[in-house]
Symmetry: C2
Amino acid sequence: MSTVRAYAASKANGDLESFEYELGPIGPEEVDIAVESCGICHSDLSMLEDAWSITRFPFIPGHEVSGKISKIGGHVSHLSVGDNVGLGWHAGYCMTCDQCLGGHHNLCSSAESTIIGRHGGFADTIRAHSASVAKLPDKLNPRIAGPLLCGGMAVFNPLVQFGISPTDHVGIIGIGGLGHMALKFARAWGCHVTAFTSEGAKEREALDFGAHDTINSRNPEAIKGATDRFDLLLSTVNVQLDWNSYIGLLKPRGRLHMLGAVTTPLGLNLIPMMFGQLSVSSSPVGSPATIRKMLEFATRHDVTPVTEHFPMDKVNDAMEHLRSGKARYRIVLDRQLL
Amino acid sequence: MSTVRAYAASKANGDLESFEYELGPIGPEEVDIAVESCGICHSDLSMLEDAWSITRFPFIPGHEVSGKISKIGGHVSHLSVGDNVGLGWHAGYCMTCDQCLGGHHNLCSSAESTIIGRHGGFADTIRAHSASVAKLPDKLNPRIAGPLLCGGMAVFNPLVQFGISPTDHVGIIGIGGLGHMALKFARAWGCHVTAFTSEGAKEREALDFGAHDTINSRNPEAIKGATDRFDLLLSTVNVQLDWNSYIGLLKPRGRLHMLGAVTTPLGLNLIPMMFGQLSVSSSPVGSPATIRKMLEFATRHDVTPVTEHFPMDKVNDAMEHLRSGKARYRIVLDRQLL
């Protein structure tokens, strides 16, 4: 038995307070990670607010973990104690369903979400199924690796899943935690990259992140001017926009892929989709094999999140900073290592 | 100059009456087809009703043409006078845009629709760009080839475009003019095929067309029982259904592809699409290269429409039969050949 020191909320929107729990005996396929840092994703906030009515309290957020393996189960052979590793949205898979056996573990209907019904990474230790834990490349700075594991994975995965070509034109809607990494990944992928942002101050930064150009998403005329320009539009926005306007910007056979958790119905017009053979889709993070590809690609192309760091014991300040909408662009909690 | 004898409506919902017009000199890339038969598609009726507010009168319907080349332009080398040919939704393409040069002529923004702003195939002759005219395989009965060119093409194209595998499970929603051909194509493609129909009498026929099983689309419990079963759902229905229920039947990475011209917005729930990496899409008929593939495949696998034949001079009776919803399954007008 070992005691985990963590930060938990006892109720919806409650402060995160010191909380301890015991880890039972480690399973043969499991590993324990000594957490060194943990990114904060908007879904940590949604879960803290119980916005999806699925949060179990006490609730420990955190699913963008970077740390070192501290213990391994008896059947784990691909990871060793001391390895630098990362853990993202998923902490386990059934390993035997059609999706898992097909390499699509992130679509396993029994996949465990790191912070749903289990304890997350705002803690000194987190346990997970070893298949969900990714070894970090030696050249990747572990302190900023966490945000790649969820936010970075979410935006990288569509490039792989839909066979995006370096000749394609990609638009990123919403330049925040996910969007800024999407700009970097799409640029490194070789694509022409356009940033859609409503905030003038972000336009310059978007270009620095890799956008070739920017479009003011509050200017309907500017949007209309980009008709027939994009093979892929990636939206990272979790509120309703005028999706039909964006669909109008797609080239034939183009795709609007939505990564923000929009919870009210999309009112899509079919006829333009028919004329252009267009698709609208979504996806959740990525599989373990794609996580490995992403980490290798990110390291080779120096795709890193822009981070703001808080010590983990200032977690409530960090959450407030996220709530304020001022995070630029991803907040990371660092544990005060002894 | 030559005179075309056709059937035209002079106003929305008007009767189709004898109408003549002159063909000018033939262009170098054009061919004239002596029409032998012409299928009737639901879009002929929508255009006759001016349901899309784009109909130009006098209006000559007809875009599922089967006939013989009667004249060719000076630059046409792949077709000869006397060839059995078919013509579908498109009667011409720009031939030089990215889509045309990429083999996706059906997505050319300047593609000419056979019955939009030009005279259709309820006539003794129709002229078209030679690239839009397909030579019929020798073994294909020309009298029933027409409906393959539009309706058949519409349902065959997604199998090609989205790389549908013979191991996939395909559901066809709506068993009518398009749906019955979709059942036959998907069965010949090697897939497991399910027919969704609201009409009990069609269930037996759907099995005869190739469905392995049927689901009563008026029975929400039956629909729910098919959760996680389909890689592809093809809807041929042009009214609103509970699309979110159908999306719930898709396997991870599945697709709902909508071929019926639903003209009011689709209220799609994004979150289930996110968890399953699902797509919703649409498409218009197919390219000339895909039309050739379809005709060869249909002939090899004996995929033919089930047709009801009217002499072309009974065209108003035929349209009324379509309006009544009783067509089983595709109406074809035959010209009284001298």
